[in-house]
């Protein structure tokens, strides 16, 4: 390829990387424990969403460019598994896009950039791996005066096929110390997680089984009314309160249905035939009576099997619900399938798709219902009662999350899940990284340290640029926390600290936050998850290098009738 065409292709690369950098800057305010939330307004629909994380922001924005979609894909994939670290992921994507752009301006080739940045990341990862603190040592460091068993092991259920007979209890002080360290400002949410952990370990099963955690968001009462309760907590409407009154104090039978419970419902995968005509010479066989017959059959089935509680994953026909109330059959709709499966295991009930499948063998036993509290809204019209449904051997635990601001409920729920996953991940990894920018300072140190040993001038420049990137990360973090008035001030602090630091010694992170009168003890007890951080860094660099290496964008889809191509690229 001639030099001239390299320039023009270089322009296109710039655009994609520039786009990536631009999108990333919108999420800077989410970095760190003090997040500034954002409102996203839908101009057409008039809806608004309140977001406080990169994952939610990208979810709610309409994105036309393929780069933005790639970023969203990456972020959502990370979020789905780890539920935290997306802000770091997006921030670093922006930083490293800028590094790549800088290198391209200097005339570095793509393969040089790729090799050097990959090497730089490996340097950082290796240093962090070595400096990670092992959980067991952390706990024994904290309670050194108390005698602790040497191998504290927290067993966890990863899947339903793992059964562990090894139940060793962990000192609750250790767990709360770790939990506090990784809460990153969401102490209230982390407290809920700790309560859930306590409840679950009381059930004599493995502690903090994340598969058995449920959230129940309730809008109305203020945040301080959030609680964690044993069992499955759900809101039922005022009409069913008489049913609850009757069913309390008894041991009940339960039936579980997936899908909707109505005459028209057919299971997923059933294709309705488009053109069926029913021809009959009997005028009394009408459609209404078909539905009536179905409701009678369904109701009779429930009565004959003495079903007291019916849990359905979809929607239940209103007429059937009304039929059940006078006979004290509790009907709960919209139950997640994994909750149904848990009840199936703990009560012996068999999940069915159609009410006609219900037999004696499919009905479960040993269920209890307890009224928890009433929530009244708008003067009685939308009153609801929160009840907890428990089965004898279940380790299901529900966190009821309340907020007087409906828009904030989603953020609160996200925060709960983020804390729960971080705690779970901490015990899965068995180690943690020092937080409050300690890890990032270490990365800068290592990058500077490795530069003199490099023969390749390109690599030296890239290491320098990556160190600058980490500097930007720390400055943004400090700015968001309010400990500096501008990023330049933060950079000065960090540079001074690195200069003063002795050779070979890790940077003292306390000194970074001390001038701002931040409680230094609390600083040293802040931690980060190893897997969450490392995965976020890796995915960020993967994405930047992928975008860097794609030199053309092919636009598919031309609207019919228009013979005008809006934008196209020649290979």
């Amino acid at each position: 390829m001639s030099r001239a065409s390299v320039g023009s292709i270089g322009q296109r690369r710039h655009i994609a990387l520039q786009q990536l950098e631009a999108i990333a800057t919108t999420t800077h305010s989410f970095l760190g424990p003090h997040k500034r939330q954002k409102f996203i307004q839908d101009e057409d629909g008039g809806n608004a969403a309140l977001v406080s994380s990169s994952a939610r922001l990208l979810e709610n924005i309409e994105m036309d460019s393929s780069v933005a979609q790639l970023l969203n894909e990456t972020v959502q994939a990370h979020q789905k598994i780890l539920r935290s670290g997306t802000n770091t992921l997006v921030f670093l994507t922006g930083i490293w896009s800028r590094v790549a752009l800088d290198c391209l301006h200097r005339g570095f080739s793509v393969s040089h950039i790729k090799n050097a940045t990959t090497k730089g990341l490996e340097v950082c990862l290796e240093a962090c791996r070595r400096s990670a603190e092992i959980l067991e040592e952390m706990s024994s460091k904290k309670d050194s005066e108390e005698k602790l068993p040497k191998n504290i092991k927290l067993t966890l259920k990863h899947s339903r096929h793992f059964t562990s007979n090894d139940h060793q209890t962990v000192k609750s002080a250790d767990v709360s110390h770790v939990a506090h360290g990784i809460s990153h400002g969401c102490q209230d949410s982390m407290n809920l997680v700790l309560e859930a952990y306590k409840l679950q370990s009381g059930c004599k099963t493995s502690a903090l089984d994340i598969q058995k955690l449920v959230t129940c968001p309730v809008s109305g009462p203020s945040e301080k009314h959030s609680r964690v309760l044993h069992g499955y907590v759900v809101l039922v409407s005022a009409e069913q309160s008489s049913v609850i009154q009757h069913l309390q104090e008894q041991t009940l039978k339960m039936a579980l249905v997936t899908g909707d419970l109505s005459e028209e419902y057919r299971h997923v995968g059933y294709n309705r035939h488009a053109h069926i005509t029913h021809v009959t010479d009997r005028p009394d066989v009408t459609w209404e009576s078909r539905e009536e017959r179905w409701i009678e059959t369904a109701f009779k089935t429930l009565r004959n099997l003495s079903v007291d509680v019916l849990l359905v994953s979809g929607v239940v026909s209103v007429k059937l619900k009304d039929r059940c109330i006078p006979y004290n059959i509790l009907v709960v709709e919209g139950v997640r399938t994994d909750i149904l499966k848990d009840f199936s295991t703990s009560t012996g009930a068999v999940l069915v798709s159609y009410i006609t499948q219900l037999t004696e063998r499919c009905v479960g036993r040993g269920v209890k219902i307890r009224r928890w509290r009433e929530f009244s809204r708008h003067g009685g019209k939308n009153d609801s009662t929160a009840i907890s449904i428990t089965a004898a051997a279940t380790s299901l635990v529900t966190a009821v999350i309340t907020s007087s601001i409906r828009a904030e409920l989603q953020s609160l729920e996200d925060r709960f899940w983020s804390c729960a996953h971080r705690l779970h991940q901490a015990f899965t990894d068995g180690k943690l990284l020092r937080g409050a920018a300690a890890t990032e300072l270490l990365c800068i140190q290592q990058l500077y340290k490795s530069t003199p040993g490099m023969e390749n001038p390109h690599e030296k420049v890239v290491m320098q640029l990556m160190a600058d990137g980490w500097m930007d990360y720390i400055s943004t973090l400090m700015l968001n926390c309010g400990t500096v008035s501008c990023k330049a001030e933060a950079r000065t602090s960090v540079t001074r600290l690195l200069r003063l630091c002795e050779d070979g010694e890790p940077v003292c992170v306390k000194a970074l936050w001390a001038p701002a009168d931040v409680d230094t003890d609390s600083v040293t007890s802040v931690y980060d998850n190893v897997t969450v951080k490392f995965e976020a860094w890796r995915r960020a660099l993967d994405l930047v290098l992928l975008v860097l290496q794609s030199d053309t964008e092919i636009i598919t889809g031309v609207s019919e009738g228009e013979n005008v191509y809006k934008e196209f690229v020649f290979l």
Binding site: N271, T277, V279, L351, Y354, T356, R361, E535
Partner: protein
């Protein structure tokens, strides 16, 4: 090879109408010559792959992955995937068979959001675990061969298979009820014939599923078209297309056993074949969906092997176009706009060293030839005297980059055929309505 085709077409069109017709004949002839040379023993582009050494096979697989940067693998991950590919290939070589042998089968499945190092090769076929399946169900099956039945028609209880026609139903008949009744009759028949694994390409009605499960039959639905062929191969079952007639005895298949396997955090169900048929599944993992797709398409098992009525000037012009198009392919290998050099002894490709612009890298592009002071080189797109390349004898160097012989040969043939087809076209008919 798209570059080759396009270049060939573009350059030929510049030659003038009469020459265009002649050019196709020349290209066909040159292609035949290329085929002859490449397939012959004296071809110096071919490298013998030593099957007694795992290292060379792993190197071959790894080098193919190296040539695809969009997979985004670091060297450790490349080594891991390279050795997995080799493992899968070795699994597919049948042992204990005499006479004509053919390779076995490797199915590739992809899991997103996992670390690359979770990728693994498993014997047998891996499918998604059916929703209601519990470990207790598998334990109840015990050991020993299991009878298998396979359906490729929808058993969802609907009448979608008839197509988009108008139906009239008389006499108060309920089609859903009747179809379900037939499905349950089918279920009874299957249970009576002691089948223990019931698989369907499409959806199975929940009521039928419940009936089968209650009688100790394991149900796998939504197998998908892609897995039907491997399933048939591994079990020996014949796919049944109708739910109305009883299943013929020869349609049943057999498997040795079922077990759970986990790959990363995902659970899968493993089917083990009865006969000695070499079958394996390679599970590929990657952090990002786009990179996973790229990795999946690049994982291939290494295989070896492997007049004209035109005027003199037409022949020369067409040959020059053919050669310059091949050169264009070589030049496009350097993405950074670097110059491409050819040495005048062995005819290997050389790239200037990034760090010292006036000299070349220590070894040639494929790694077989080391640089020497008397090795003359010239840029590829300049003129040079024709010469006969010397073949490399007794070199200790291993080739760094290898391509599949059959893939390259086939690509070259297809490229020339397409070019010839396009050049031969005189009219295009377009449907304006």
């Amino acid at each position: 090879m798209g570059i080759f085709t396009l270049r060939l077409i573009e350059s030929t069109q510049k030659l003038g109408l009469r020459t265009v017709a002649a050019a196709s004949k020349v290209y066909k002839h040159l292609l035949d010559e290329c085929n002859l040379y490449l397939k012959g023993d004296s071809c110096i582009c071919k490298v013998r792959v030593d099957f007694t050494s795992c290292d060379s096979l792993v190197a071959l697989a790894t080098s193919m992955l190296t040539s695809k940067p969009a997979c985004m693998l670091n060297s450790r991950e490349k080594q891991h995937i390279g050795s997995l590919i080799t493992q899968a290939f070795l699994y597919s070589i049948p042992c204990n068979s005499s006479g004509a042998t053919c390779f076995g089968r490797t199915v590739t499945i992809a899991i997103e959001s996992q670390s690359v190092s979770d990728a693994a090769v498993f014997p047998g076929l891996l499918v998604d675990v059916p929703e209601m399946l519990q470990p207790a169900d598998l334990k109840r099956l015990g050991s020993g061969p299991l009878k298998v039945v396979l359906f490729n028609t929808s058993l969802a209880g609907d009448i979608s298979e008839v197509g988009d026609v108008a139906l009239e139903v008389y006499g108060g008949v309920d089609p859903d009820f009747e179809v379900l009744r037939q499905l349950l009759r089918l279920g009874e028949h299957i249970v009576k014939n002691e089948a223990t694994l019931f698989a369907c390409q499409k959806v199975v009605h929940p009521v039928l599923q419940q009936y089968l499960r209650e009688h100790g039959v394991i149900v796998i639905e939504r197998l998908g078209l892609g897995l039907m062929d491997p399933f048939v191969q591994i079990t020996g079952a014949q796919a049944v297309a109708s739910l109305c007639s009883p299943v013929p005895p020869e349609a049943y298949g057999l498997i040795k056993g079922l077990s759970f396997q986990s790959c990363g955090s995902r659970e899968l169900l493993q089917l083990l074949p009865c006969k000695d048929f070499p079958f394996s599944t390679m599970v590929l993992c990657h952090r990002n969906e786009t990179m996973l797709e790229e990795l999946k398409s690049q994982s291939m098992v290494a295989k070896t092997a492997t007049s004209l009525g035109v005027s003199h000037s037409e022949f020369l012009m067409a040959s020059e176009v053919f050669c310059s198009s091949l050169r264009a392919v070589t030049l496009s290998l350097e993405h950074d706009g670097q110059d491409c050099l050819i040495d005048l002894t062995y005819a290997h490709r050389w790239v200037p060293d990034m760090d010292s612009p006036n000299s070349v890298k220590r070894a040639c592009g494929c790694g077989l030839v080391e640089d020497r002071s008397n090795l003359d080189k010239t840029p590829l797109n300049t003129a040079y005297h024709t010469f006969c390349p010397v073949s490399l004898e007794n070199t200790d160097n291993q080739p760094k980059i290898l391509d599949s012989f059959s893939a390259k040969l086939s690509a070259l043939n297809v490229a020339v055929e397409i070019a010839n087809l396009v050049l031969d076209l005189k009219y295009i008919i377009r449907d304006v309505n």
